[in-house]
Symmetry: C2
Subunit: 351 residues, 2 copies
DNA sequence: TGTAAAAATGCAATCGTTTGCAATTGTTTT
DNA sequence: AAAACAATTGCAAACGATTGCATTTTTACA
């Protein structure tokens, strides 16, 4: 008898720890099927029953076992977000723009009832799509950044798995891309410098990077339309990090003098690095050299001088990406989407 | 016969889409138990068999269904990382320091075989711990930031669920905290300013915020030990955002003049905002006002002038946090851990 | 060669939900 | 009041992997 009591109390303790749907159903005096349907607001269950079971559930703060539910329904309600960092430098992971993207994605996903599984290191292994999707860890993938080569992304696209990519939406690829019109961005930035009187405008960024390649095209187009100088030495190829920018500008001025009076950069962080190099040499900004950033990170206006930049509408982009992914789940057609950009004139350029 | 073939081909198509462990076992001519053990490198299975099955698995790029595995083992190998943002401003989520923390946590978690489920918005709902853990979405929780009040954190701690918190490890709380010695950080920063000749040193940050409260203590201790000025107006309470800092400093100078010659800030971002306000008024840095940041974000050395700051060793902290969490899983005792900090002297202070 | 011990593999129950279909209860119509 | 119908609820079979225990195979030793 004593033994029975012990067992009994242990049993109670256990179920108290982890109430199961069956347990909840028993408490409510219904079957598990009814309990399940009630919690899922299935209209086939009488309203009164639904209310009663839900009340009981929250009273015992019961929550459905996600693993079991996912196994049964073959749906996880999880989206894997992969930060496609080409260069695993300290700098690139610390670009505030990335955090902004992840933060907005998180909001947009939660809003639609999804959770965010973050990954910045799995891109290394070839098999990431398979890893996340065919193992039912996630229902879809959002890749942030196309990088220099989109082979891997393209390979996943061919398998037809649900995926949306942040990148250049004007590029002709077989997957859904959401992003800014980078060519236009490069064009507007360059034009702005030309209009403010710059004659020799440098492009500071890696033209082999897919998204930057588009900005580079815009840069060249603006220059040639305006009959501006378009020499090779005006293209300074660097990684998207502020230190790389700092070093490149320093070195360039050291070896070749100040042969430019304007800089189009690939990100605000890069612009910051360039600014530093210029200020150390007491070069006037924007009087001697004007500079345009890209992204409009929160601190852009806090730089000294405040940074003229191309703003990317990250919040909207995140929403669109999630929507496009959901469309894929529903088997509906999707399309690459261009998110509006905007020139934000500040004090790093004349105007 | 024809019908049989049709069924057969459909079967092949289906298993080709989503190979299951049972399917793999059949291909290998073994039972599912053997296949399972082989993939998990169970030494009870002959080495040759293990190799064969693994080879077959990677050939068909098979991967275990995580949902089923989690259901059976009651282990998810997922950790929920919760960004405890007190103020949901644009700025605070864009602090690069946060991204650094998340990035390093991701690395450390992956290294130990865990995945990172990110959440920045669930802190709002009271029930986050229960949501993630009792629903078997995650095995443990890492909370980034203690915020102004740790009620919710404390409530979770009392339930005994696996959790580690980034915060102030010297605070006397019932949960495991990993973080820098904030009091020491505040002390060192202040002392550095005193040593460089500052007489009136402002503390720029919210002393009610748990972590900052410690830094504030350090600040006061350093001042009183050195017999420095310790007035109320030297405490400028603001949120941890650069805009708040910019506005507060601007406003303070406007209304009360430049009554200070040194600033201890609550983060590098805050320092950046303060710098901006000072530079706009052509106040010399560090000649008229010296300033010390906190965190040592990547761009600290790219500010102009480069920023003297207290470096937090985020990488190490992330590793320790994950280790402590794993210890909790194993039922072993854990302890709050102080991560070393370091003063990085740069050009925003005299030395 | 027979037998005991050791090594390798298989059987079958289980994890907790969901859902097609059957069964029950309640309501309306003739 | 019986029949026909609608509204609710329950039964039981999945979902796919893991693991204690039973069973088979192999090896070792007499």
């Amino acid at each position: 008898m004593l033994f029975y009591l012990l067992v009994e109390s242990e049993y109670i303790l256990k179920t108290d720890k982890k109430l199961t749907l069956a347990g909840l159903a028993k408490l409510a005096g219904v079957s598990t099927s009814t309990a399940s349907r009630a919690l899922n607001d299935n209209p086939v269950i009488k309203q009164a029953t639904r209310d009663k079971i839900k009340a009981l559930a929250s009273k015992h703060n019961f929550s459905i076992n996600a693993a079991a539910s996912r196994l049964r329904t073959q749906k996880t309600n999880v989206i894997a977000v992969i930060l496609n960092l080409i260069d695993h430098t300290e700098q690139s992971i610390s670009d505030p723009f990335l955090l902004k993207v992840v933060g907005e994605l998180n909001q947009a996903l939660n809003h639609k009832g999804y959770e965010l599984l973050l990954s910045n290191s799995f891109m290394a292994s070839d098999d990431w799509a398979n890893y996340f999707l065919s193992s039912s860890r996630a229902d879809g993938i959002i890749v942030v950044g196309q990088g220099k080569s989109d082979e891997k992304i393209d390979a996943v696209a061919r398998t037809g798995l649900p995926m949306v990519v942040w990148g250049d939406p004007t590029s002709d690829v077989d997957y859904t891309v959401v992003g800014s019109d980078n060519k236009l961005g490069g064009y507007i930035a360059t034009q702005h410098l030309i209009n403010s009187g710059c004659k020799n405008i440098v492009f500071l960024g890696d033209p082999e990077h897919l998204e930057l390649a588009e900005r580079y095209k815009g840069y060249r187009q603006a220059l040639s339309e305006a009959g501006g100088v378009l020499e090779d030495r005006l293209t300074l190829s660097i990684d998207i990090t502020s230190t790389a920018a700092y070093e490149k500008i320093s070195e360039t001025i050291l070896h070749h003098g100040l042969f430019f009076d304007g800089i189009v950069t690939s990100s605000d962080m890069v612009a910051l690095g360039a600014l530093k190099a210029l200020k150390e040499r007491y070069i006037g900004i924007p009087s001697e050299v004007a500079i345009v950033g890209f992204d409009d990170i929160a601190m852009a206006e806090l730089f000294h001088p405040s940074l003229t930049t191309i703003r990317q509408n990250v919040k909207k982009a995140a929403e669109v990406m999630v929507n496009q992914l959901v469309l894929q789940f529903e088997g509906k057609p999707t399309q690459s989407t261009v998110i509006d950009i905007e020139l934000i004139p500040r004090n790093s350029t004349r105007h």
